[in-house]
Amino acid sequence: MNIYLPTWITFVLSTGILLCLFLFTFKRQSTKPKWYWALLICYVGMFSFSFNFNVKEMPFQLPLLPLGVWIVYFLLRPRKRWNTYRPFAWLGFLNAFLFSFIGLLTIPLGHLLYPTNELSSYISTTDSAYVILSSEDSNIQTLDKDSLNKQLSTAKVNHSLSIEWYYNNFSNGHPSESFPYMLMETTSPFGSGNPPPQIFIQYDGKGLLITKNNHQHYFQFQTSILKEGVSQ
């Protein structure tokens, strides 16, 4: 289980701001309501009819109609409590905005904490890692862990040659599949989220093709991370 840290950071941030605003509103009230009722009203106030769309592949909700506030109004108006609880209902609606906008920070935070063009964002440790042959036209090889560990921070992200790999437009001596091995059981950095990346190894051990969520990157090494031998 690997949580996605940026989501948790934005969640904690928005909840913190909400609590501060709640306390501030509560203190300013001349007639103090019961704090747990106020909290419940605030929660109901968050219900809204919202407009959903994607911002950079991330779902975003823009609250439009304050449904929760209306519910509270219709329930409390006959009981003459509306004026006491009104600020909390609107605070809930405001909070729906807050959660949506602070949620947008998830993307830049993700890029900051786990830059997609660095190999260390996908692989942190290789203690139990191993190689399996996924296309049998190539020979069985094993993982050279020392070589991989040394190059984790120096591997360079490079332009994918997807079309060339697909049509296999290479000179003689190139195997029929450019990525005939898979790297299994590597550990992802803490907080980088599930699912773990899918990692293919280039036939000469000098490249990795990493797919994670909805992006794919090609990393290149100076020296091979494979060595001759039978897989364990």
Partner: protein, 239 residues
């Protein structure tokens, strides 16, 4: 009123106890009685069924190869459910099938007299390579091609577990199944994994035995069973 409440409570407790007992009851040996065999023959509209043996696949699943009407080989699939062995499926002919009990447990199963011309049979797991572009991002999905020789025995039937590495590749692939989300540029998502089988004679040439052709199933309960279709060496990409 009080009596009725007591009565209801006792009934609920007994029902709960029976449910828990059946749920946790440990599997016994699978014994297919003569009466059951007659019923099975009736179900598949045959006159006679003989159970050849029982092959256990873990604790809660079993395959029992069948001889039907003294001349036809088939199979029956069983699962331990709610305290007893339940019949999931009967196949009246049993060339190669794959039984997906779970992601981690997949078995190749057959019950067919080996054609004398066959020198070896290869199980092939394959996906074609694929490439696509969406939102200015390009994706390449390498080909996966793995083979394993079928371990024939003297018996007509056999069961072979799918290798561990294959299951790991299948798991990783199911997480990252290529898909195209761009609605303007509809592209065909590539085929998922498929199993195939290649039969070769002693000269390493393709053969397609006619007795391995068809497969008909009578399904009684949920089961993930797929036929493995025969193919040629060239089609499977084997050198």
């Amino acid at each position: 009123m009080k009596k009725m409440m007591w009565g209801i409570s006792i009934i609920i407790l007994v029902a709960l106890f029976i449910t828990l007992y059946l749920f946790f009851k440990q599997p016994t040996k699978l014994f297919i009685s003569a009466k059951q065999q007659t019923q099975m023959a009736k179900d598949i509209e045959s006159s006679k069924i003989d159970v050849q043996t029982v092959v256990y696949l873990g604790k809660k699943h079993a395959f029992a190869p069948l001889l039907i009407n003294d001349n036809q080989y088939g199979g029956s699939y069983w699962q331990w459910k709610w305290g007893k062995w339940q019949l999931l499926c009967i196949n009246t002919s049993e060339p190669f099938n794959i039984w997906k009990v779970s992601d981690a447990k997949q078995y190749v199963i057959w019950n067919v007299p080996k054609e004398p011309t066959i020198a070896k049979s290869l199980l092939v797991l394959k996906t074609e390579r694929d490439y696509f572009m969406t939102d200015n991002k390009s994706f390449y999905y390498p080909e996966i091609k793995l083979t394993k020789e079928i371990a024939y025995t003297d018996a007509t039937y056999g069961v072979m577990s799918v290798p561990k590495e294959w299951k790991e590749i299948l798991k990783s692939r199911s997480t990252y199944t290529p898909s195209v989300t761009n609605f303007l540029l509809q592209q065909q998502a590539p085929q998922d994994f498929f199993y195939q089988i290649v039969h070769l004679n002693k000269y390493e040439q393709d053969i397609f035995p006619s007795s391995y052709d068809f497969n008909s199933s009578f399904i009684f309960d949920d089961i993930q069973l797929e036929s493995i279709l025969p193919t040629s060496k060239e089609e499977a990409g084997i050198k």
